[in-house]
Every structure is written in structure tokens, then in C-alpha cells.
């Protein structure tokens, strides 16, 4: 993977750090340290975003949808609730139910949170924030993101609780049904871009499609192939388990499913994992369909545009949550296998044909 990193012409964050901190003289060890620092930085960006999203933004957004007010007492606009909530959640007792499968039970939240964080390693976030750029970036990001379902089924199975068990099984059934369409739609983007590398995919969307006077419509894949974009958005909703596809949790049916028995910091990890998953979903959508960090203004603003895009996806999930009923598990599987899968195959074949015709 390191070799792949070195071959690209884009400057990655670890390389910058090597230059900045003069770690070059330590050779591979220096690069390794730079990589660790880079990963630490990116992980912290994600943690901060989750901290804003979970206790504050989510409540505020929902309040706007539901004619409510939400947090407004602690600090300006209720912002200090983030600290209050963090202290509250972390100081809660960790209750370990009788008869849990201890190693699996404790590992599950960590797997869920880590798998989502790992995905960000290959995402180009603009302004030079890009940890690694392997040639198989797209494959990598889907592979690690789907590790989360292992965490979910581990948590569900190890909890020794029937609701959790049902939740874990639902999570697996759902992820299998929706990951195939997800990857197939991503493959159509790969056919367009001609590369699995994230930086190449972003680069392929930089050109202008049409120029309408002062406004240049960029060649984002969401504009070139809106059909694939919508498919991907739908499959992504199921992949991150949000309304209308939040059946693995479904608090009103199976009492939050796989996370029923978790409390204290384990619960925080599960929640963290879920939020980072939403953001990772947003990051993948931004990279594959919305030109990554592209946007008006100087290139150094890229990171801002990137954040705007993933927060837009986050907003969409909250909007759906406020407005759309939850589908039943059998209906969900049916939509996945009979609807999305067929459509995504169709999309793939059409894309392949069109790209083939253009290149010939």
C-alpha cells in the first residue's frame, strides 16, 4: 500500500508531514510516524464532527422539522450541551448483563467504530487532507465500511438478548441485500472514471460539462448520471441503517436491536460508529458523485466544500428520519433484491455500453 502511495502524483498528508516535521531523515520510521499523525488528525476531525452532530446538530435539525426548540439552555444556542453530554455519557456505568459472550461483546462496539473511521483513510478531503491513496481505493472503502456488519452481528449475538439477536440478524440481512447494489453502482462510476483510485475519480470530475454563461456546470457524476446517484443514495440509506431503512435498530419493535444491552462508553462507541458511518456514507457520495472537495473558490477551500457536502448528506438522513415511515424487514429485503439490485445491474450495463460507444 505504501508503494501505491508513493506512486501517485498528488501530495498526501503523511508526505506533507514528513516535509513539515523533517522526518525524512528517519526513513521508513519517519514515514510511519507521519502516517500515524495524519491518521490521528483525520480521526479527530471525524470525532469532532460526530460530537457536533450527535448531541447538538441532530437535535437542532430535528427540532426544525418538528416545530420544536431542542437544546437552548446550555451555552450559546445550546452548544455546550456537547460537553455536558460527553461527560454524562462517559461517566455512565457499564452494565454487563449475565451470560454475555464477553470477548465478542466488548469487541463489537470497537469494530463498529473503527471500521467506519478506517474508511476515511482513502478519502480525499481537499486542502491536502488525504491520508492514503491506494490504487484500489474504492474497493478498500467498501470493504472496511462493511466490516461494521460483523460488529453488529457480534454485538447482537453476544448480548444474550433476543431483541439484540433479531437486530443483529436484521443488520446482516440488510447489509448483504444493499451492499451489492451499492458496489454495483460504484462500479458504474469506476467505469466512467477508468480507475479505482480515489484521487483519479475526483480528478475525472474536475472538467466542465457545460458552460452556462457565468456558471460552469462541472462534470460531476451526479450530473452525468443522476439515475446512478439516486440509486446510490437509496442504497446508502440502507447501508448506514437510517430511515426508512432503520430496521436493525427499530426501537419501537426490537428496542434498538443489537445495542439494547450496551451502556456507558460501549454505547457511545456504537453511536459514534453510527454517526461516523453516516459521514463516511456522505464522504463516499461526495467523492464518487459530487466531485469530492471540488467547489468554487481557491483550492485551499476544498476541505470546506467537502464538509458542506457530507453535512448535506447528513441533513438528508435527518430529513428522511423526520418524514418517512420505517419499512418492514421483509419489504426492505424485497426492495433490495428485487428492486435496487436489478436497477443497479441495469445501470451498470447501460453505463458500460455508453462508455464503450464513446471510447470507440
Amino acid at each position: 500500500m505504501l508503494q501505491a502511495v508513493l506512486q501517485t502524483d498528488t501530495v498526501l498528508l503523511p508526505e506533507r508531514l514528513v516535509d513539515l516535521l523533517r522526518l525524512g531523515e528517519f526513513g521508513v520510521v519517519g514515514e510511519f510516524i507521519a502516517g500515524l499523525i495524519a491518521a490521528f488528525l483525520v480521526a479527530n476531525i471525524m470525532l469532532i464532527m460526530t460530537a457536533i452532530a450527535g448531541p447538538w446538530a441532530k437535535r437542532k435539525i430535528r427540532a426544525r422539522f418538528t416545530d420544536a426548540i431542542a437544546v437552548n439552555r446550555v451555552g450559546p444556542a445550546g452548544l455546550l450541551i456537547i460537553i455536558a453530554d460527553a461527560v454524562r455519557l462517559m461517566s455512565k456505568e457499564i452494565i454487563v448483563p449475565e451470560g454475555v459472550d464477553r470477548p465478542a461483546w466488548e469487541l463489537a462496539p470497537i469494530v463498529v467504530a473503527l471500521s467506519a473511521l478506517l474508511g476515511f483513510a482513502v478519502i480525499p478531503m481537499g486542502s491536502g487532507i488525504h491520508v492514503a491513496d491506494p490504487e484500489v481505493g474504492v474497493v478498500f472503502v467498501f470493504a472496511v465500511a462493511s466490516l461494521a456488519s460483523i460488529g453488529l452481528v457480534m454485538g447482537g449475538y453476544a448480548s444474550n438478548n433476543k431483541f439484540s439477536m433479531l437486530g443483529g440478524l436484521r443488520a446482516v440481512a440488510q447489509n448483504i441485500a444493499y451492499e451489492i447494489p451499492l458496489v454495483l453502482v460504484a462500479a458504474s462510476v469506476v467505469i466512467f472514471a477508468g480507475s479505482l483510485q480515489m484521487s483519479e475519480i475526483v480528478a475525472a470530475q474536475q472538467d466542465t460539462l457545460i458552460s452556462l454563461g457565468v456558471v460552469d456546470i462541472p462534470m460531476w457524476f451526479a450530473i452525468i448520471n443522476p439515475f446512478a446517484f439516486v440509486l446510490f443514495l437509496a442504497a446508502n440509506m440502507a447501508e448506514i441503517g437510517r430511515n426508512p431503512f432503520d430496521t436493525p435498530e427499530a426501537p419501537n419493535e426490537i428496542v434498538a436491536g443489537y445495542q439494547t444491552e450496551y451502556s456507558g462508553i460501549y454505547f457511545v462507541l456504537f453511536y459514534l460508529g453510527e454517526f461516523i458511518h453516516i459521514f463516511l456514507g456522505g464522504a463516499i457520495i461526495a467523492t464518487l458523485f459530487l466531485g469530492g472537495p471540488a467547489g468554487p473558490g481557491p483550492e485551499s477551500l476544498g476541505f470546506v466544500w467537502f464538509l458542506v457536502k457530507i453535512w448535506a448528506v447528513f441533513l438528508l438522513t435527518q430529513w428522511m428520519r423526520s418524514a418517512v415511515p420505517r419499512v418492514r424487514i421483509d419489504q426492505l429485503i424485497e426492495i433490495g433484491w428485487k428492486g435496487l439490485l436489478v436497477l443497479s445491474f441495469l445501470n451498470l450495463i447501460l453505463t458500460a455500453l455508453i462508455v464503450g460507444v464513446i471510447t470507440v
Partner: protein, 553 residues
């Protein structure tokens, strides 16, 4: 001063002589209850007699089963009605021996008798021979004694050894047979709307069997009412049965029964106030039902449930203006209401009109836009949780649950009381029999209630100032004649809310029995949910709209 005439309670069209003739020797004696003729039969001929009455005389509706202890005997009364005309009533009285209170069960004739007889067994101690599942329903299995009997010692603590209670769920955690899985939904579960326990047997995700286990919120309401005086002390209790905004309707149920018992005429003006208050309560209750149901189907962070609560709040505000209370209204009095419209009257009329004519149509559009036109919602609700009319009658489902199964019965029209007969409104029914119909019936009933309130407002506004009589003359102490009995019901937010009172000559009731609509409606849950998915079970439960305070009393 004109007073509204209470409709004749004569069972018009019911040929009581034909019943006597057909039953022949089975009729031991007859008695006269205020609401219906009573026929006394032998304790071992219950099933036979009721089958004849059901099949040949069209008594397809067992409204209530009330049991009581009398000095020399135990008695079970089956209050029979007809869905086609609920004013045709007949009481079947089954006396049993004091020493050996065993009576034949009616559970094979009417499904609804199953739960009613369990309750009678639980609280009174009458044993029902042939009952499929005769065990306690409201009290825990470990209870000793039957609390509504005379020799029951209330002061004696119920001692349950730790050993016996070590694991209260022991019997519910029995080994699964490999094919199916037993899960306990509740008593603490987000979708049970209170403390309800559903023993659900699942095969994968589908429900093979579900058994509601109730009684967690049993507060001895009947016993408390038996200890209160008719005139003042009972009226606050009904607010606490269906506490989700339907207080005035509950109060009316008691008022109607007690006023019939004591022969009190209510002034017309007070009837209009009652009608308006009751319909405001119905709207608030239906909004809450809608909001909580939406929670079950949408998930916990959705806009529509909050919108429903917001609209309910507006009704709540009007009710607060009218009664001075938000939930526990205590507004009705025997023979009238507590007070008139608050001054300035115009303000109240304007606020109400504003809500009815401007806010409500807007929020109804919103409901249709977000809920009933939503395709995913239809996917979840159409043809799910089906309650066929026949089963609905068997289980004595009433209210929106029955009307959504195509049973055209509404006591406001069919057993008229209050000011309803003078007003222009319609009974909402739907033939869908599914969850969607139940939701639609409630939504449309809100609109009908708004029509009623609107007309009441007009009447109240035009009423001559010197004729605004809100209270009839009622003696300070009411002592109805001993051994008069009455069963009277009103159309509650959830269905037929009936009260059975036996007077014993004192100023407190000898027996006070509450026929709770949610109690009967909840017993239909197995019919709705078995064979569906577990998510549908939750949706069905939500669509029944139970209030545990009313179920457990």
C-alpha cells in the same frame, strides 16, 4: 325551560315474550333492570341459553360481564346487546351458590367473555366451568383472596416469599422448542404505550402466537368508586381511566349511569356543554392516538407525531379554558356541569372557531400529505392487522376499531344521549378492517367531532342569557333504592365505555363495574397480529389505541 328527553329505554322491537317462550324452563325468574329486562337462569345452562339468544335473537354483542357478591349468593350478569341496535338490551343473571360459586363459562359463545370472566374470577372469585384459561388477569398469580368480596381483608399484607418471586419471568423464559422463540415485549418496551406485557412467540420474524398480559396498572378503580358517595366523590375517578385527554367522556359515562339510577334530568344547556366538552376530548384523544401510532410505524424522531401533539395541545388549551384543568378535568356533575363557558365568552368562542375553522383544516391537510398519502405508510398498513367483522363482534370490539371493521355502531347515534341527536354529523365507518382503516376512521372522526363542536358553539352563543341553566336540582345526598341496577354506556374515545351500578340503599354504590373499551379492544390483538410480522404486531397494537389506565383500571 325545556329539558332534553332521555330516549326511551324500552327495548323496542325486542319481543321479550318470545324470548321467554323460547327459553321455556330455563327462565327461573325475571327481574327488571333500569336499562333492560333481566332473566335469571341456572348456572349450568349459561352456554346453552346464550347460544340461543345469540343465534336466534340476534344478541351478537356481549357488552359486559359484571360479577358481584350479594349477601346470600354470587351473581354474574351478562349484559347482552345487538350491534345493529344497541338499545335492544337483555341482562342474563346467573346466580351461584355462596359456598360453591361455580358457573358455566360463556367463553365458547362470546370470545369477549374470556377476559371478562377471568376478571370476575380474579376480583370476585366465581369459578367458570369450561373456561379455556381461567387464571388471574389483573392481579399477579401469587395473589391470595378476591379483593371485591366482603370477607377479603384489605389490611392483611400479601406475602410473597422471595423464593416464589425470585425470577418473575421464569415461566416466560421456558426453553424454546427450537422452531420458535418466545420474546417478552414489555412490560417496559417503547411500543406498549404504558406497562403492558405481550408474550409473543416468533417463528423467525413472524408472530405465531401473542398473549397480552395486563394488570400492571391496576389501581382498584372499581373498589375506590364503591367507597365514594354518588354525589361528589366518584366523579374525579373517571378522569383517571382513559387519562389521555378523554376525561370528560369518562365522566359522562358515570354521569349517565348515575343520572339514570337516581332519575335526574339534565338541563339542555348543560347537555350542550357536555357534548362540546366530550367532542373536544375526543379530538384530543384521537390526536394523541394518531401521534403515538405514528411513533410505532415511523420511528421515534418523526415530525408527524410532534405535529399531532401540537394540535392536541391546541385542544388541550381550549379544554383548560373550559374546565380549568389540563388532564383531570372533573368538569361534569350529576345533573349538569361544574361551570359555564369562561368569561369573556366571546373570547372562548373565537378561540374555538379559530381552531376548528382555520388551524384544523390546515393540520388535516398535513396529516393526509405526510401520512395517509405516503406510499411507505400504505405499504405498512394496508391489509395488515386485519380484524374481520365477525371476529370483531365476537371479541366485542367497539369504537374506531369496530367501525374500521365495517361495524356501523356508534352509541352517540344508536343509543342517543346528550345533545347528539339534535346535531348534524355522521358516523364514520370503513370496510378495510386493517390498520389503515383504523387510522383513517380516527382522522375522519376528528373532522366529525369538529363539526359537532362548531354547532355546539353556535348554539351556546345564541342561547338566551336567562336560560343558561348548567345544573339541575339534585339532592345533597343521593340514596337510590336498594337493588336497582343499571348498565349505561357512552361512546368513549376508544369505544363503548359502560358503567354498571347496583345500588344498595346507601349513598355509595353496592357494586361499581367499569366496562372498558380498551380492555375489550386489546383482546382482539391476537386476531390481528398472528401470522403477521413482529413489526406488524407493533403497528396493530398501536392502531388499537389502548390506554393502560383504562385497560387495567
Amino acid at each position: 325551560m325545556s329539558t332534553l328527553e332521555e330516549p326511551e329505554v324500552e327495548p323496542d322491537g325486542l319481543d321479550i315474550d318470545a324470548v321467554h317462550e323460547r327459553l321455556g324452563d330455563r327462565v327461573l325468574d325475571t327481574e327488571e333492570h333500569i336499562n333492560a329486562p333481566g332473566i335469571i337462569i341456572r348456572a349450568d345452562e349459561v352456554e346453552e341459553t346464550l347460544t340461543i339468544l345469540r343465534d336466534e335473537f340476534d344478541f351478537d354483542y356481549l357488552a359486559c360481564v359484571s360479577a358481584e357478591e350479594l349477601p346470600d349468593r354470587y351473581e354474574t350478569i351478562y349484559h347482552l346487546k345487538q350491534f345493529a341496535d344497541p338499545t335492544r338490551e337483555l341482562s342474563i343473571v346467573v346466580p351461584t351458590d355462596r359456598d360453591r360459586p361455580i358457573s358455566q363459562s360463556a367463553a365458547h359463545v362470546y370470545e369477549t367473555a374470556n377476559w371478562h370472566e377471568r376478571e370476575a374470577y380474579d376480583l370476585i372469585g366465581i369459578e367458570y366451568d369450561g373456561h379455556p384459561n381461567l387464571k388471574r388477569i389483573l392481579l399477579p398469580d401469587s395473589w391470595t383472596g378476591h379483593p371485591l368480596t366482603d370477607d377479603y381483608n384489605q389490611d392483611k399484607p400479601q406475602v410473597v416469599s422471595y423464593k416464589a418471586h425470585e425470577n418473575p419471568l421464569l415461566e416466560h423464559t421456558k426453553e424454546d422448542d427450537g422452531e420458535t422463540m418466545l420474546i417478552n415485549i414489555g412490560p417496559h418496551h417503547p411500543a406498549t404505550h404504558g406497562v403492558l406485557h405481550l408474550k409473543a412467540t416468533l417463528d423467525g420474524e413472524s408472530v405465531v402466537d401473542v398473549e397480552p398480559d395486563i394488570g400492571y396498572l391496576h389501581r382498584c378503580e372499581e373498589q375506590m368508586c364503591e367507597q365514594g358517595t354518588y354525589r361528589h366523590q366518584i366523579m374525579p375517578y373517571p378522569d383517571r381511566w382513559d387519562y389521555a385527554s378523554a376525561g370528560i367522556i369518562n365522566e359522562w359515562a358515570y354521569a349517565r349511569a348515575a343520572e339514570d339510577l337516581a332519575d335526574i334530568e339534565v338541563p339542555e344547556y348543560a347537555q350542550i356543554l357536555r357534548t362540546m366538552g366530550a367532542e373536544l376530548c375526543r379530538m384530543a384523544a384521537h390526536f394523541l392516538a394518531l401521534g403515538t401510532f405514528v411513533l410505532d410505524v415511523y420511528g421515534e424522531f418523526n415530525a408527524l407525531s410532534m405535529y399531532a401533539i401540537r394540535d392536541r395541545e391546541k385542544v388541550q388549551k381550549l379544554l383548560e379554558d373550559l374546565t380549568g384543568q389540563r388532564i383531570m378535568f372533573n368538569y361534569l356533575r350529576l345533573g349538569g356541569v361544574a361551570w359555564d363557558i369562561p368569561e369573556p365568552r366571546e373570547q372562548f368562542f373565537d378561540d374555538t372557531r379559530q381552531f376548528i375553522n382555520e388551524d384544523l383544516p390546515e393540520s388535516m391537510d398535513e396529516v393526509h400529505d405526510l401520512l395517509t398519502d405516503n406510499e411507505i405508510f400504505q405499504l405498512r398498513c394496508v391489509d395488515i392487522g386485519v380484524l374481520p367483522p365477525k371476529q370483531a363482534k365476537q371479541y366485542a370490539a367497539t369504537g374506531p376499531v369496530a367501525r374500521a371493521s365495517g361495524i356501523d355502531m356508534d352509541l352517540r347515534r344508536d343509543d342517543p344521549y346528550g345533545y347528539y341527536p339534535e346535531l348534524d354529523w355522521e358516523v364514520v365507518t370503513d370496510d378495510g378492517c386493517d390498520i389503515f382503516s383504523r387510522v383513517m376512521v380516527r382522522v375522519r372522526e376528528v373532522e366529525e367531532s369538529a363539526k359537532i363542536v362548531d354547532q355546539c358553539i353556535d348554539l351556546l352563543e345564541e342561547w338566551p342569557e336567562d336560560e343558561r341553566e348548567i345544573q339541575a336540582n339534585v339532592p345533597r345526598t343521593l340514596k337510590p333504592d336498594p337493588d336497582t341496577r343499571v348498565y349505561r354506556a357512552v361512546e368513549g374515545a376508544k369505544g363503548e365505555l359502560g358503567i354498571y351500578i347496583r345500588a344498595d340503599g346507601t349513598d355509595t354504590p353496592g357494586r361499581f363495574k367499569i366496562r372498558s373499551p380498551a380492555y375489550c379492544n386489546l383482546s382482539t390483538l391476537p386476531v390481528m397480529a398472528e401470522g403477521d410480522f413482529v413489526a406488524d404486531l407493533i403497528a396493530s397494537l398501536g392502531s388499537i389505541d389502548i390506554i393502560l389506565g383504562e385497560v387495567d383500571r
